[in-house]
Symmetry: C2
Subunit: 202 residues, 2 copies
Amino acid sequence: MTSVEQSALVAGDVTARERIFEAVLGLCRERAYDAFDVGDIARLAGVDEESVRAGWPARNVLVMEALLYAVAPHMKFPRTGDIRADLEQQLAATARLFADPGIGPHLRAVIAEIHADERLAATFLRKVYGPNRTVARARFELAQEQGQLRTDIDLDAAVDLAFGALWFRLLLGTGPLTPELAASLAEHALAGLGVPAAGDRR
Amino acid sequence: MTSVEQSALVAGDVTARERIFEAVLGLCRERAYDAFDVGDIARLAGVDEESVRAGWPARNVLVMEALLYAVAPHMKFPRTGDIRADLEQQLAATARLFADPGIGPHLRAVIAEIHADERLAATFLRKVYGPNRTVARARFELAQEQGQLRTDIDLDAAVDLAFGALWFRLLLGTGPLTPELAASLAEHALAGLGVPAAGDRR
């Protein structure tokens, strides 16, 4: 047995997990949200259906976690020291993911199930919303410490103000999700949230 | 036949329509979105089920129109001449409706069906989003003419910036919808969108 094979065995669970996520993402790129089932996922991942069912309580939870797996590497809020540049980057990355036909429509579909599915809602809050909110709040707090953001604001309202419009367009399907929109949102949100000296370019 | 009976006959369709909407809203106040059907609506409205089915192609379209009927009187964007006061009023009215247990959860539930239901999506765009967007754009344009709002902004992005956070919280269930949030959003959005002379109170 080579050391590569050995480490694959040791890391067996992780690898199967990743293969399953990749299978879900592959299916999301090719099919609509409702057009594949756990059997399709298992076949494409090369695992048996029972092990998929053992790992996730429901198909929608698995799809949400797979989308998170795809999205997470792109959601690290930059920390260049310039909150305007960093927020624009983060909004642009979010807009790009939402506009991706293999991600946006499926994210929208799975989130649509939250209101009627408490387990899915709990997964969303714990694994998607919570960590993302923590990262965004921490970045906004750093900007406050660096004198780039007003300190008299409710941080959750500030983050909602900056990111709410992108979610609005994703979930309601009312307008395009473009880098131009991201830039415009970053500028206008920060003009309202920033302190005049650092955040205001009017 | 009295003149009252006569006018009720002449306006018969309108009256039945209103009774049906009121029945839906009554059920929404008492039950979850999925916990009543067209039969319940017809019984409470005192009409036969067939006439309900003849008027609306699907239950979700009827619920959406009934919610619109409840919400529309509260959605007339004020025009006092002060965009900050008017936007705060409009955001507060929206937050109040979203926080109403007889409206918010049902609006969230019916909107969750948009992504998989083209007819419902078309109804939403034509009857809910379209008219509301037209009113909001017109109010923002007036503020531009009155020198209270920057003219170098994309109006749809500006409206999304102002209202997106409320929709974010309604659809994702991530935070309370309060008058304080509305006031904070109005202030921060307008600091970014307003012209310094009139819109900036920092």
